[in-house]
């Protein structure tokens, strides 16, 4: 049986991602543990997603393949970095996002940002993919870095609440 965490992790490895910043989401718990134990990946837990995007940008300038792991609420903490840093300098980035607040969300506090998330990506002009099925995950993540590098902008992968 395919495992939700394992599928994303394999994709990360296939893509060659070797520098990751994160703010936790309960759905990312196992993935964060795997990444923390992977000696090929530098993992930097951050205090705020925007800060993490700054750190990733510095790592990219030194040749790293960069990603952020976060909850979609963190997108709200990232907007200015995505525009005034990533768009301005045409930096690539993989955003692996636990998308809360969609259908079936038990916590009401997640709902407003859950709804706003796709619209925010539309407004930012950032390509995003919603992933609900485990079978789709590994391929989507594996391909993401090359795609982001050729587009010269971030790519977001939204892992739905029903994915996990």
């Amino acid at each position: 049986m395919l495992d939700s965490t394992e599928s994303i992790y394999k994709g990360i490895k296939n893509a060659g991602i070797n520098f990751i910043v994160s703010v936790p989401c309960v759905n990312l718990k196992k993935l964060l543990e795997k990444i923390n134990n992977d000696s090929e990946i530098t993992h930097v837990p951050v205090t705020r997603e925007e800060e993490g995007l700054g750190i990733c940008a510095g790592a990219y300038l030194a040749g790293k393949k960069i990603a952020i792991l976060m909850q979609n609420s963190g997108l709200g903490n990232s907007i200015n970095a995505l525009t005034s840093l990533y768009e301005l300098y045409s930096f690539p980035l993989i955003m692996i996002i636990s998308h809360r607040g969609t259908k079936g969300e038990p916590i009401i506090g997640q709902v407003p940002m859950g709804k706003a998330t796709p619209n925010l990506f539309e407004g930012l002009g950032i390509d995003y993919k919603r992933i609900e099925k485990i079978e789709k995950a590994e391929k989507a993540v594996s391909e993401s870095w090359k795609k982001s590098e050729s587009l010269k902008k971030p790519i977001a992968l939204l892992f739905d609440i029903n994915y996990w």
Partner: protein
């Protein structure tokens, strides 16, 4: 002393260090004083200069110097916590503290009453200094081992310098090239 002379004082000691320069006048003044491929002029994203410097420091061996402003440090105060905990061994953060949002017209910041050096020390930085108490040249020539926080108290004031006539792509590409050489 105003920011321009402070940056001049810093820049005269530079050799191959990588410099991340804060948004607005700090970048413009550095560009005028000593433009070099090793300078990354951060033209947007106020607050993130120290974070960019941290990511860079953790990913390669050259020394990284961040020229930050007090207002920008206040905007991303968590960065100091992350820097201390990640403990990069090639990282110097210089807080050019004019206790003002200089680039937007010198509106006062809370650094008028709140001491950034005390904050850095209480976060855990063992190497946290006043610029006037150190020999900066000597610091640059030594092995660093742990992150350094330097508090450079200055007076508000922007020099009469032009804007940076390099595209963001140009700034990025020549910087990337020299970092990865």
């Amino acid at each position: 002393m105003e920011r321009y002379d402070a940056i001049k004082e810093i820049a005269k000691n530079l050799t191959d260090e990588l410099v991340i320069a804060n948004i607005g006048f700090p970048s413009r003044e550095l560009y005028e004083i000593k433009d070099r491929a090793e300078n990354f002029y951060m033209l947007g994203s106020m607050g993130l200069a120290s974070s960019i410097g941290l990511g860079l420091g953790l990913s390669q061996d050259k020394k990284v110097i961040v020229l930050d402003g007090d207002g920008s440090i206040l905007m991303n105060l968590g960065s100091l916590v992350t820097i201390f905990n990640q403990n990069p061994s090639n990282f110097i953060l210089i807080a050019l503290d004019n206790s003002a949002y200089g680039s937007t017209g010198n509106q006062e910041t809370y650094c008028k009453n709140t001491d950034l050096l005390k904050i850095a020390k209480s976060i855990g930085f063992k190497k946290a200094f006043n610029f006037k108490d150190i020999d900066f040249k000597e610091i640059l020539s030594e092995d660093i081992e742990e992150p350094i926080f330097i508090h450079f108290k200055i007076n508000p004031g922007n020099a009469d310098v032009g804007i940076i006539d390099l595209t963001p792509d140009k700034i990025k590409n020549r910087f990337k090239e020299i970092v990865n050489k």
